[in-house]
Symmetry: C2
Subunit: 527 residues, 2 copies
């Protein structure tokens, strides 16, 4: 960070002399370029060194407040000061999602094209709430969504521009999170069900029911509550090992039937392609068929695994998507597009805009009045919105389908390699089949050991691993079993990182349960 390390006083002095000559110009192009060059240098150094930083920092709550001043500075300072504090105080307390040794949660994949696109978007800083407020921002977002829909082989009914070149009723929007995608479609489905049932206002809300497998992300159940659904009417459908924790359409049907028979109105079903916990895949087509009996809205949450479906060998996981009402997937998870970027597609945009449209005087304009354009504010919670399409378009424009597929396949191959390591060591077991680049595994419990014992051993393994700073793995509980999640795909990751992590896991496990069967038995017996 330049001269500051050597001589902060000098940096301040030079700065003070230069300041205030001609007022305050926060976007002076020379300052912008100078600050950005410093930021680029930081990013370069960060990517070069992140591998050697502890993935999970060993800081205590409140650490940063002890390092940085608690009151805002009253006067200005050279940008180097902020950069120095970033480096000295902030970076040591970061969990490094960009580290190639990050295997927790799902990776937040990224790329040079995405970061560059986001930089330009934040510099242009347009607010594309209506088409007129930034025609190119709206049209590039729509184009990027249509491109992605083509990569995913989504039916033309989800695209703004149909294959024939005309305008269908479908369309998409880029949102910040899957939760928002769920929320806005829940609201559209809710309003449609209320209308269908002849409800006066929201009086009929207590009769509406919603459904998802118990493996569905917790944010779905939260989104239902946000939209005002009655907590008693939010059905979490049990799953089990028999379906590898995917939603069983027969169980769904029984639940919906029972509700309908009781005078309730099945309104919405969420199916997940690649659950957060274990990457289970709900059968999209079968779920859609069940839901159609009740005219319920079907949403597919493919936040993580949707990206894989750009490869022909994974596309079958979306079979039946032509019969659902909406689907969302997040390129910020696995399509090398930095946060945040969740793509929502709906088959009938009017059902969405019918619930979300606003038309204040100060946003009225000829283009909106003409009905020829998409005003993206009417497909999201808020009004304001960044230039969201640019980075996603740049990723597809620069890397093309081939490289994007190569990237998915490379991650899956590394996960497969890890899975084989696990399977090849009889102290470990893979707990559920691997579908994508997530391996759920654990130290195998000894015979007749309780689940509590198995959990204690595996929790110990996880905590020891994470304390090394050389790997970060997260956990889940599947079917009552405490399981480690090994998610491959951080964008700087190479095969050697997966190999090193496995060596570390073996070594750490050996410290806990010994090198082989006998040692392990002895350890267990001593406990």
């Amino acid at each position: 960070m330049g001269s500051l390390d050597a001589n902060p006083a000098a940096a301040y002095a030079a700065f003070a002399a230069a300041a205030d000559v001609d007022g305050f110009h926060p976007l002076n192009p020379d300052d912008v370029r100078s600050y950005l060059h410093k930021a680029v240098d930081f990013v370069y150094d960060y990517y070069k060194s992140v591998e050697s930083l502890p993935v999970l920092p060993g800081v205590e709550p409140g650490y940063l407040h002890r390092l940085l001043q608690s009151a805002p500075p009253s006067s200005s300072a050279p940008f180097d000061i902020a950069m120095k504090e970033l480096k000295d105080a902030v970076v040591p307390g970061m969990t490094h999602w960009a580290s190639p040794n990050f295997f927790a949660f799902f990776p937040s994949t990224n790329s040079a094209a995405a970061i560059a696109g986001e930089l330009i978007a934040s510099a242009m800083n347009t607010v594309g709430f209506t088409w007129q407020a930034s025609p190119a921002a709206t049209e590039l977002e729509v184009l990027a969504l249509d491109w992605l829909a083509q990569l995913l082989k989504l039916p033309a009914s989800f695209m703004t521009r149909t294959v024939a070149g005309g305008r269908g009723t479908g369309g998409g929007v880029i949102l910040g999170t899957t939760s928002e995608a769920m929320l806005v479609t829940l609201v559209a489905a809710r309003d449609a069900a209320l209308r269908r049932s002849g409800s006066a206002g929201v009086a009929g809300l207590t009769r509406l029911t919603v459904y998802a497998a118990d493996q569905t992300h917790s944010t779905f159940f939260k989104a239902c509550r946000l939209a005002g659904f009655d907590p008693a009417n939010i059905r979490s459908i049990p799953t089990g090992a028999d379906t590898d924790y995917a939603l069983d359409p027969a169980v769904l049907l029984a639940a919906m039937r029972a509700d309908a028979d009781a005078g309730l109105i099945p309104t919405y079903v969420c199916a997940t392609v690649g659950t957060t916990s274990s990457n289970a895949v709900d059968p999209v087509g079968a779920v859609a068929d069940v839901a159609s009996t009740f005219s319920a809205w079907v949403h597919v949450d493919a936040a993580y695994a949707g990206s894989a479906c750009i490869c022909p060998e994974f596309r079958h996981h979306l079979d039946g998507v032509d019969r659902v009402d909406s689907i969302s997937m997040s390129p910020h998870k696995w399509l090398m597009t930095c946060l945040d970027c969740t793509c929502l597609y709906v088959r009938d945009t009017h059902r969405l805009t019918g619930s979300l449209e606003t038309n204040p005087e100060y946003l009225k304009n000829h283009a909106s009045d003409s009905g020829e354009v998409t005003d993206l504010k009417d497909m999201q919670v808020g009004v304001g919105r960044r230039f969201r399409g640019l980075k996603l378009w740049m990723v597809m424009r620069t890397y093309g389908a081939t490289k994007l597929q190569e990237h998915i396949r490379s991650d899956v191959a590394m996960a497969k390699m890890f899975e084989e390591f696990v399977r090849g060591d009889d102290r470990f077991e893979v707990v559920v089949p691997r579908n994508f680049a997530l391996v759920c595994f654990r130290i195998k419990p000894r015979k007749f050991a309780s689940e509590e014992e198995a959990e204690r051993v595996n929790r110990e393994l996880m905590e020891r691993l994470n304390k090394t700073g050389k790997a970060y793995v997260a956990h889940t509980v599947i079917g009552g079993r405490f399981v480690l999640r090994f998610a491959v795909g951080s964008s700087l990751q190479e095969e050697r990182h997966v190999r090193s992590a496995w060596e570390l896991i073996k070594k750490t496990a050996a410290e806990i349960v010994g090198d082989g069967e006998d040692d392990r038995l002895m350890m267990m017996m001593r406990e």
Copy 2:
């Protein structure tokens, strides 16, 4: 954009030779640096030239789809290709919010420090849903919010860290939009009211009522519908010229009293400091006093004008904020922080997290269990979140209170200058008092002219102005009058731009209504 313009074939050839040597590395530090340097050059050139670009582009709906290929590329391309298409096809269709000739809506202010901060955040690409998922990201966000609270002189009850250094119940979170701030507080207020009223589930929802002045942003009424409030129970309180279109506490009291008397439950009041239409300021303290009679939640939307309240001379607009439940303001509007950045403060975070908390197994960790840390996912709609605090912290760290205040004051001074221009020309009138940096004005209607005539003339003025590409002004309707909104503050704006815009307005008005009274009367009579 480099060699591409001269010889795209050569760029492709060099690129093809370099590719595929060693797999695909989307975050290769050298590529990242190279792409970012190109992006920085673009940004520099853009800021240098944006003044000369038409603010509002003259493109037709669908223009971009005609310029860019409709199918995603199958193979990769040099980054220069994306940059060239950005420059040739996208930029000409942008509405340039960064232009110093942009006077529409509210400015999306920006700064070198903010853009650099956002760049670093998107490169680090952490997902700080829990404290553990990125301790520094969470703590820096909390610190930035506490700093801003101090600049705004918010009561300590809104800060995470109270003045005494202990931990209060208050706290904040950075969200994407004001709408989300409204939504999450509406949901918290809704759930509290349901509990208070002994409602079984959401059965009592039909009795809950919400209130805001008719000048409140339309997104408030949308957020109410998203949260499931009955459309019939969403009260838009009429305002008039007598209060300069601010909420009249007596009218609010009468409306709440009437609802309570009818057995309804007043649940939430939204007060605005600086309405979108005309910058009216609802009296925060008086509104809080009325609402407290009914135990209703009071939220202050200070999206735009909140930033001005860092200056002592504007702080009185927040008087009474110590008695409200929540306040949100958006540094992405007027505090030089690029999109998106909306700061929400609540007095009792537990009321918010009580409605928004989720606790899935895969996110459980010791820090969260200890209750010592803030998990920001529980104060927003979604789970995932960018490293949101960095850019806001960098803005305050680099510019300090003094420069931030200077920036507000400079904008207000320019708006005041414009206001004086308008007042000094008897063909024009200022329609409502100017509170901040927005001037609402129009061509004065001639005596006995209908509002339709006045609207026609002023609409003509707006459309002619915007077609020149040399200024972009938006409109609104206040008290039945069609009015032009002249919002000063785009970050590249200087006094000369305001002067030029006024010259253009005078010249264009003269084309429509003549240079003086006689000409104007004649023009009007001919119509």
